[in-house]
Symmetry: C2
Subunit: 545 residues, 2 copies
Amino acid sequence: MKILVVGAVAGGASFAARARRLSEHAEIILFERGEEPSFANCGLPYYIGGMIEERKKLLVAPKSLLEKRFRLDVRTRSNVEFIDLERKLIRVKPLDGGEVYEEHFDKLILSPGAHPVRPNLPGVDSPNIMTLRDLSDADKIHARTRGARSCVILGGGFIGVEMAENMVHRGIHTTLVQRDPQLMSPFDAEMTTPMQTALTSHGVQVMLGKSACRFEQKGAGVVVHLESGEAIEADFVVMSIGVMPENQLAISAGLNVGPRGGIVVNRQMQTSHPDVYAVGDVVETIHFPSGQPTQVPLAGPANRQGRIAADHVFSRSTEYRGTQGTAIVGGFGVTLAMTGDSEKVLKRNKMAYEKVYLHPAHHAGYYPGAQGMSLKLLFSPQDGRILGAQGVGGEGVDKRIDVIAMAIQGRMSVYDLEQAELCYAPQYGSAKDPVNMAGFLASNFLRGDQPLIHVEELDKLEHAIVLDVRTQSEYDEGHIPGAVHLPVDELRDRLSELPKDKPIVAYCKVGQRGYLATRLLSQHGFDVRNLSGGYTTYRLHARPV
Amino acid sequence: MKILVVGAVAGGASFAARARRLSEHAEIILFERGEEPSFANCGLPYYIGGMIEERKKLLVAPKSLLEKRFRLDVRTRSNVEFIDLERKLIRVKPLDGGEVYEEHFDKLILSPGAHPVRPNLPGVDSPNIMTLRDLSDADKIHARTRGARSCVILGGGFIGVEMAENMVHRGIHTTLVQRDPQLMSPFDAEMTTPMQTALTSHGVQVMLGKSACRFEQKGAGVVVHLESGEAIEADFVVMSIGVMPENQLAISAGLNVGPRGGIVVNRQMQTSHPDVYAVGDVVETIHFPSGQPTQVPLAGPANRQGRIAADHVFSRSTEYRGTQGTAIVGGFGVTLAMTGDSEKVLKRNKMAYEKVYLHPAHHAGYYPGAQGMSLKLLFSPQDGRILGAQGVGGEGVDKRIDVIAMAIQGRMSVYDLEQAELCYAPQYGSAKDPVNMAGFLASNFLRGDQPLIHVEELDKLEHAIVLDVRTQSEYDEGHIPGAVHLPVDELRDRLSELPKDKPIVAYCKVGQRGYLATRLLSQHGFDVRNLSGGYTTYRLHARPV
């Protein structure tokens, strides 16, 4: 069997390695436009920033290894220009000279990835305006940073935030411009606040709700003009506003492509032509658990898809379950991670959901070094099924999101989080792990034991008493405007100070004392709800602008 | 309703706090023999070692807080001597003087914990031979360490290993004596090797397969005589050879107690008397998922059981699912964690199982700081259901075990691990996370794509060729005795050097090249198996004695 693979990075390389293990006898040829196959895509910002010092570390499976160990025919600097589905062949143009040639296939695997969006704005063609896709892009930016004093990053998503951290690491003054009014658009806005604060406190100028409209060459640098009328001068610009599937080849071949440009595939990663597979950032994948089409350019899914396509070519019956959107970004010591659906996606899809916030420490508070985190859990009000989770903080955020990701995959509920039996010793967690706590809060709510209210609902409440049950010094340091102060430990003795004919919203620092206050007051006949996540959640919503 | 709680640490304190939240009006009295309720049990070794500097940090919910915030009647230094089930009352002896008195109950919650085993050996009553259960024990040991130069720790379980780390931290020369031929008996022996090495390399003298038979006072110190005839002189001894449920009160009251001494309870934590509940280390709990009785003294389960008992007292329909044995211990930078059943338990219970070993890095290898770990996954050969997992290494071990713990709770399989979508950015994990890798290995095996052999089976193979497919330098640094060397990258060209009439065991460093070699050779007609986890697993089995 003769197999051609177009694109030799994550998905394509995974396919090829697996295919070789499954078949020693197949002829497998990889075509890669760039200079290197199988490089560490996700490491590029860290190479530019100098955290990864040696460029060769990025070459996770160099050409020689693929050739020697896996007996793959790796053709770099080779552009696949055309697919002829009828004759089952492709046309290849060697980029360093040589004749265009044709190659026949029995099976064709498309793994061309996605390219950075580069909007057609005046002046965008300046060599000082760069995007980051592959090693040669990274080399260009790396070279441009030498001696540079300032840069503008357009786009505050995964690459934008990672680039900002790395530019600061290189001592370059950095301005980050983001069209959305928040960083990291896949996340709910309030969960991105600590990341925004971290960027700002490390000297990054964060400009939200702004976008570039034109660029102007100025000396060796560039001026970025924003739609707001502002202008930012910098030595260079990195544009990271999103990616588009590299779908031209598929479209011209007549393969089905979805509305957002991704190649349509089935759960075995077959395109509309049964001998053509597509994997990685180029495909329209399936959302898990809904089964709806979605497009998620992530390395993990790309690798697994490559594996699944190889399984199908060689008659193994695995199938891709879909992408649930587990993602993580780190910057300046802050970790921001999510799995499943965000609140805004649930809202957009008109799904019924409920949510809780919590702000636990990553391990037992009595053991030195405990770091705080904020978690948000989204779940079904009907049966408690977990719909999504987001976390932000220091250490241990990735662990909790991974545990919840596994629970989502298992279609588990908040009642399962309540019962989860996780590792506990004081250096690693708590006897009631943050995951358990999330389950406790959500199931308390679902069982009717903890009426909740959320920060964004506060405005809608008329005549409500907002009751701060923290200590005097906590209250003095900052509180919700108009809040009445009555510490939880004095509540039982001072019930008469509260009205029974008005709704009460109790809050504390993180929601725990507020929960106790809510239980206490409701049993004494008050109409009371707990502000989920307390003042800390309130502060997350009051984002710096 | 009047509720009495006997024992006010993990389970009892959790019960009481939850009970108060559920009922503002119940009368709740806690009886605690020690001086402090709700102290951080698991923090005691770290307080003794000086890692936790302030004693008061251990008082997670001091008496005053329980009284003020939760309106609990907390009676410390109070020994409950007797339960009269018929009259529904208990007899209490105040330990600091005062009359013995009776207290009536509507509901009684037993949370007395477990006491350290102190075998009746000659000389065991010396004040230099201490056990660690509560704060006053910790104070005693803490005081004894001042000026001390040497100690013997008897027992190499959780507390033994933690104490060893802390004694070294205090600069005290430490000998650890363990009856089993391995440390940390709940784990499979080979997985404990890195912990043993860590102890030894930090100066702890580890003596396995040894036990004390008598003690002898010598000056201000003590001589520990071992059954082997050896004798160890030290300033003091900490005995941590296990715990026994504190069941006397329950037995004398006529409550049902299991064969290993734990109070028998149902899934609502009710004992054989419906108004008496028991929680924590004193109960015989249910093994998850088998439903068989078991006894696991762990803080996480104790806390959740307290909560569930309170739920039942106040008519919430939660139930305890059982204990799956998730546990973790850290020492000298090595983390050792497990969930579900160990191989030895599966063997003992004559359960069908298979296993794989892997030795991945905790995050992408190209990002600086990647630490190695070893994972062992146990699963059903029928349907791939996950039965247990163990991990040992540096960072990220706890995360992988927690993820697999969640998968076990969801009755998920190795095919689910294969598809798990976990957080990936180079600082946090790999595009193919260790959890995915474990799933890949196990499902490759179950699908017949990767015939495996294990280290302990090597001896049984007659006439087999053991084939080392690593590089020359790796081979030269150490290899399995008698192994033939043939690097994987040369394999295809040198097939003729291998016999087709003998079984071949291929191995590399961790199993990956061995897997490729196995696939390659089997497709060329050789009878070949891959040594699971390769030379690294082999080295884990060759434990230092």
